[in-house]
Symmetry: C2
Subunit: 303 residues, 2 copies
Amino acid sequence: MTQAHQLSPSSPASSASSASPTGRARLMDGTGLARRILAETALRAAALTARTGTAPCLATVLVGADPASVTYVRMKRNRCREAGIASRQVELPAGTTTAELVRTLTELSDDPGVHGILLQHPMGEHIDERAAFEAIVPEKDVDGVTLGSYSAMSFGLPGFQSCTPGGIMRLLDAYDVDPAGRRAVVVGRSAILGKPVGMLLLGRDATVTYCHSRTRDLSAEVRRADIVVAAVGRPELIRGEDIKPGAVVVDAGYNPGNVGDVHFDSAVERAGLITPVPGGVGPMTIATLLEQTVTGAERRSER
Amino acid sequence: MTQAHQLSPSSPASSASSASPTGRARLMDGTGLARRILAETALRAAALTARTGTAPCLATVLVGADPASVTYVRMKRNRCREAGIASRQVELPAGTTTAELVRTLTELSDDPGVHGILLQHPMGEHIDERAAFEAIVPEKDVDGVTLGSYSAMSFGLPGFQSCTPGGIMRLLDAYDVDPAGRRAVVVGRSAILGKPVGMLLLGRDATVTYCHSRTRDLSAEVRRADIVVAAVGRPELIRGEDIKPGAVVVDAGYNPGNVGDVHFDSAVERAGLITPVPGGVGPMTIATLLEQTVTGAERRSER
């Protein structure tokens, strides 16, 4: 990973490992990029609202009152408001059954006033998460959680992206990281993060390795990576000594205490580009969600 | 890959690399295993026919008269006959449009007398292959070509497997190759072979690397593999010198002249287990197709 990591096409190409005079990695500023995406999204939302008389609308569905989930949903609704996107809040008691949740999601899927549906997860263990996700119609799956959206990501077909993987790809693009021919190592294999981000990287011609809890020598795998995506939810699992000098390090982990899956202080000394936590991948996830909501509303208005 | 490659649970475990006194790899006998699967399948088909009065039925759909495709379809129909599975042959002219093909597949999907649908591919370039595949309902997708089947394979959900990947996993199981914790390298990333076999291996806890035409140093990737699946359709691309001693080599390539993607004569000297071409993966593909057809018919009879 020594070629051309640049902030914008107009800035000069520079070797990643020499990007900073101190030898430290350049930070991939997710907060700044997300702000630009949200500003564009707000303009599109305003134009659509002016043209159709109706603002794009995201329905947020929350089951129970898990504090982290409550916070996430509130953040998403706040960002919606700032971007001129209406949001409809559906709060269901913790004891909601799968059947009841499916019914709610089916109604939202059928509701012409709703353009995107966010089902906050994880939900309670008594809920069949897959059945719930699949009750969301593809045209409103702006969080990219359905099997259809996953397949679309896998095969490069039209569809909404899972928001964190989609946000990661936007971040790579913004820093001119071309995955083609590079070794990308994805640590984690969840349905909404690890698996789809690997498929997106494969679609961009990276040589992709999936690692996980059963991988025998994770350090050896990570040491070979030109691009590391940490998406496993284990605090500081990946240490600087395992980062290939100049590599691109994307930390999609979220753990208590604002700690990622990467040990930042050691990794920043070896990487060429690295996402901070917070301020890296996190803001990109929300920006992608809102952008896809407006896209959904635009498409609906064109039908 | 030094543990316990054994033909059956009752045979003694032995180191793969010492499996043969000459140091050559043991062959993974797809022909023999497929024969056993087909015999079981025939018993199940006979029982179902006796119970319901109707034989399981596979519809084969062929567009045009590509000689290889004609041969494949004929082989599949012959195997059906031997296994007591009815087959319904649909032959469409080469100029068939996507819309016409979709209509045919939709009719077969709706037809209660058809339990499985095989759409022979590749089809002509004027046909939207994805649209055609998606016209097959999941319950009859016994060839495992739809997006829904792919997602199911990716997430370990119930569904039919893509036949070649499913057959490969059966072959690994028959030789007691446990992918858990092993490095598996999949060469190729097609929708019906490379991508799904990687997902099945990942589901079995392998550390999975996808390689392809843009991979920079294929030899280096293959040399690290405990399990190699060659699925790219380039004759003898993978040479023995790149095979890790004792590795399991699965050659899913099919090229003119009965040549696989692996250079067999050199690979057999290094591998612990290897599939011959022909007689390795090929027969397993058809066996899986027929087995899944009977499973589809059994499920229908239970509804």
